[in-house]
Symmetry: D4
Subunit: 165 residues, 8 copies
């Protein structure tokens, strides 16, 4: 990777990788450079802090944080940077993501986390691209193309089902 | 207002205004031009659609949407623009915001809404500022100053409580 | 299909089709003409809007909308027509339909959605038939026959289990 | 009241009346004749059964049933008539309507209840009017007028807030 | 069955039978005569009403009612008899029994349902036996024996695990 | 009180008394002798155990246990007696009785608790009377009279509301 | 305060103080030295980290952390010390503490937080005393005395209510 | 086992053993002597009481209690000893551990249970070790080593994923 990453995808454990793959695929499709990190708010607090405090200087513009259970990763990172932080609550406990959703979204005043749906990795990447797209016409175009493709697919499905009616 | 707004705050009903005041105050403190709209996904669908499809062209960079109950406003707007859309679920029914939270955050793949806490108007504005700050050093500085002020306040409270310990 | 449809079944994604099959089967059994559409409140907002605003003129009398997650389809359609709109919340996320239920039923004053059970496709079709039956004795008769058949089946089951007691 | 009622509003207890007033006001505004009944699925099962089995013959076209807690009224009535039954879950216990919502909406296959929001009396009346409007242009016109008035109000609120922006 | 049943087990659908088997087995082990009925509050309201109003005269002393979703069976039966009615909420929808639990337990003042755990068929039978045991020493003895057997089993398990400690 | 109590009402704290008054009033109206105890599963485990193991011998036939939060009182008593135990979950924490409901009703196989609604003291007393009524015609008559009075009241309310319609 | 604190009570905001007073009062009654800190996982991450990494060396033996919403304080502190950390979820949002409970208790493997009830400040202090009591007979005695006093109070209440029965 | 156990792991049923294995493995790895007991708050109340009242004298310092459903074991034990009691809510019913969590954590003032995550057996053992570690440097070292190993593993995973970035 010669180009510098502008998005960072953080996950609390390597076992979250399969759930986060869709985010990677979308960023790749959008030709957005990203880095993938395993950083735990609880197990590697210093590395997490180090990442968060240096991210902006390193050129990162959006941070995506995925975690399950008492998901603290997004909140902890958000407290250490003024970059936009996107939280992906993962359904990894018997409580089916309800825990991760509340632990991610209910942040106190002053430190927002932009939360997407439970297991919503793809949308985290798209949201990142929409943010980047404000000042990056190429990325913005990619988002629009994806929208157009989705539109076309729904129309095709509609026509297939709806026949000649 | 001579300067053009770059943030739009949409609410489903004028009665949401008191809950959204903190967002206005923060954007004013940050010297971010914004507009305040009453637009309902259900009662004024065409005006909402009109707003959403023209927002980018008009110079809007971030849209904040607040709604309670089956909160569809953020999702509907998000489907009509590639601007980042921030959703604020409001606790306006006996279900205490649980309905608005799920109706805002659980968006399908392709159309993310950056969801903040229930009744989290202030954080919606701060998140908007963090997004704008990626390309607007003045706004980014404002966010940092607010962080520093919050930090100072917590430290002062800590020292007051903790005395000479 | 020469006869014109009087019920429309909308789903947010073609992948919802298997969950909605029971609605189709019931309408077919009741000899109610229907059309099946894939229309997304978020991915194809204009087509959805187009459908909703023209549905009454085209002879549609009841619209059934099925969606999962932050299920907005029924609400968006309901905002664009005064036809009765029936919402079917689908259990398609880790939150098991709780999200879709609240996002469908908790509509604001002015725009009701007649909500049925999570994954309740069959009941959506029966409710549509009951509404149509107010002015269509043949359909009303079909509903009564189904009721009678259900009654007979429960009685048969009861007698099988209860034996000669 | 010389004209015969075409909508019946049932509530489980007279104490539900204040919560159901909005339904009455809307039907009156729409010039829809209705009757108001206190009928309990549990305390007056026979009267409830008597009402439900005779409603259609008496000219009732839509039944609205409101109840809190383990809200069975709508379901019981729905089992005894093929008229469309609209359920209004009321927030009358410490569980804040979550109980009434699930007890109303999660009906078994064969017996749908068209459920509206918790404490959603107004929407129950509007839904009833939308159903009646399929064959009653005057009522349909009333619904459209209400929609137009709501639209105008939201626009007025929007313009008031949005000023000359 | 020559002896007359003193317990009735009602279920809303024959498909509930496998979940209710444990209740049957316990009553058989306790030598309590019971009858098994398929009666639906919604699909066979008259048969259900007929059962409930005649149960006491027929010698039934306790009624066990099992249902899922918007579980109304126990409540409806309880409204029609002053016999103790035990409700078994079944986990038969995507909401995992939360709907059936609330629809069974949250009964209005005047008409209690003695609710046991979700899918708690065995406990419904034991509770019935405890009620019968107030005036039937043989059944009471059976309950005590079962308790003693459970005690012995837990002790055996404890000693197996705990070894000589 | 010369007559010996046949129902015991247990509460975890004297502060629960106001919530349990309706149970007392109903038992008094039904002329059922009862005793009122403050016994805590956690704070007075031995007294609770002493009560439970001796209750049957002392002539108690039904035990009503009320508790909030992690409501263990009913379950603990139920483990120590084969008398029927009725649990009343109280809404005494910010979780509004959801905690007490689950902690009371979800008992393991072998030890049922007959659970009534959150804050359902009155229904606990009525259920106790229904159980006693199996062998006490006077009490059974009292329950029937109460039902008849409730019926009459609902009919009176119905006629008042429904007037000459 | 000459003696060195052995318990630290941390709260995310000075406004939590009133909810945490019961913890202070209990530790004072138990003659356990404590310190009171306002430290926010998000607003003062460095001070929080500094506190947590030095707490053991400074003689702190148990840390109590109170926070509402997406309550991260206990988890963040727990990741930075091997001292036992007790979490107190506070009911400070419209979600009534359900958010704070899940965000506190659902910690990932490796980093436990000893969670007490929502708004359970008093129990956090008692739990701290029980932990300290393992090696501090004076504190252990205090806990036993409190238990005895609670026992006496329940007995007094019981005798007052139960009279001469 | 010649050494005397200082931790006791209690479970309500032998079938909980597989869920509690991780606690055993951690204590073994930490060289902490423990005993494993099957004790039911409801099925073996006396043995449970006997265990709890004698545990401290026998040298037990921390008690871990695991139970599902209306999980009373931890609370009952906590009421009978002033040793720290750790509760592990198990997901063993259709309600997925939500019942066990609330029944374990929402203890009344005076009797805390240190609750860990649903199915959080490993963390219960680690918390026990952290408590023991206050006065046992060897155990405290073990916890620190585990932390260091977890840290190393996350770093290795991070480096594997992150490549040379």
């Amino acid at each position: 990777m010669e180009k510098k990453p502008i998005v960072a995808i953080l996950m609390g454990s390597k076992s979250d990788l399969s759930l986060m793959r869709p985010a990677c695929e979308i960023l790749e499709a959008f030709e957005v450079e990203y880095e993938l990190r395993v950083l735990s708010a609880h197990r590697t607090p210093e590395r997490t802090s180090d990442f968060a405090t240096k991210a902006r200087k390193r050129g990162i513009q959006v941070v995506i944080c995925a975690a399950g259970g008492a998901a603290h990763l997004a909140g902890v990172v958000a407290g250490l940077t003024t970059l936009p932080v996107i939280g992906v609550p993962l359904a990894r406990t018997p409580l089916a993501g309800q825990d991760a959703l509340l632990a991610t979204v209910q942040m106190p005043t002053g430190i927002p986390v932009a939360t997407v749906a439970v297991d919503g990795a793809a949308n985290a990447a798209i949201l990142a691209a929409q943010i980047l797209g404000l000042n990056n016409p190429a990325v913005e175009k990619m988002v629009e193309n994806m929208r157009a493709a989705n539109l076309a697919k729904v129309i095709a499905d509609d026509e297939e089902l709806n026949g000649g009616s």
